[in-house]
């Protein structure tokens, strides 16, 4: 048991042999702008490093690829300590739209793409994207409702099949 770590990273000439990351699998379960961008930036960053990347959109994460909703994603102003505003204020009418508008403006200033353009970039970069079957059934969403770069709607089991092999990492957002 104590030897496992040593075996996995054999030292050669005193230099630790690093195993490359082959593939990053992301599960996006939320539609808040901060979650969606975190997931997209990391998937895109993986491709930029020559690492394969795949995103599985489930539950509210499906909104990020829902044709009618993806342009209208928000940032949560309630229950989000990072906003630094009191929960009661965050719940006032229009507050979430205002905060989301400000965030979109800031992202534009930083030359960050919109959600739709980002999806185009991911798709062109070879990121594989899938919808979750259970969530799609629950929300009565079909492939036609989703962004055209979505490969297909698959089950959790299918997703695990894609994650087989060495050097695969999975991240839940």
């Amino acid at each position: 048991m104590e030897d496992i770590l040593m075996k996995e990273a054999p030292a050669e000439n005193g230099v630790e042999q690093k195993k490359p990351i082959r593939k990053m699998c992301f599960i996006l379960s939320k539609a808040g702008l901060e979650s969606v961008y975190a997931c997209f930036i990391m998937a895109n960053g993986a491709r930029m490093e020559g690492i394969e990347a795949e995103i599985f959109f489930t539950f509210f994460g499906l909104d990020a690829v829902h044709k009618k909703r993806l342009e209208h994603l928000h940032i949560a102003t309630v229950g989000n300590p990072g906003m630094h505003i009191p929960t009661l204020l965050g719940g006032l009418p229009g507050m979430e739209s205002y905060a989301s508008r400000m965030m979109r403006k800031q992202m534009e200033a930083m030359d960050l793409p919109t959600v739709h353009e980002f999806l185009d970039i991911l798709s062109a970069s070879g990121v594989q994207m899938y919808g979750c079957k259970l969530a799609a059934d629950m929300f009565k969403i079909t492939k036609d409702d989703l962004y055209e770069g979505i490969d297909s709607i698959i089950t959790v089991g299918d997703f695990y099949q894609h994650a087989q092999g060495d050097g695969v990492h999975m991240i839940f957002v």
Partner: protein, 103 residues
């Protein structure tokens, strides 16, 4: 650090990026391209490399999005031209510093 490419001594950093762009020339680019596994550079490669160098001279940060909007190539083709980390490989071959952006 120094590295000998085609019999010429070139200044590079630890990751192999040229530190003095004035030392760059096409035959050095061809050699780096082979070492990076990109192989022979065709006309399309050169169009992209010229665009990247042009952006560098204008101090525009290099991003995948900029490549997509370049009019020279699109993102899909860019990934096919410079496989396994296109932005970094293209920058190394073009003799410019490693791109520092996250997108």
């Amino acid at each position: 650090m120094e590295k000998i490419i085609n019999g010429v001594t070139i200044k590079v950093n630890e990751e192999g990026y040229l530190t003095d762009f004035s030392q760059w020339n096409k035959s050095i680019a061809e050699e780096i391209s082979k070492q990076e596994g990109v192989g022979e550079l065709g006309p399309k490669h050169w169009e992209v490399l010229n665009f990247i160098q042009d952006q560098y001279k204008k101090s525009v940060p290099l991003t995948i999005r900029k490549i997509g909007a370049s009019g020279v190539t699109d993102i899909k083709e860019f990934y096919a031209l410079f496989p396994n980390g296109p932005l970094k490989k293209a920058a190394k071959i073009a003799g410019i510093p490693k791109p520092v952006g996250c997108i």
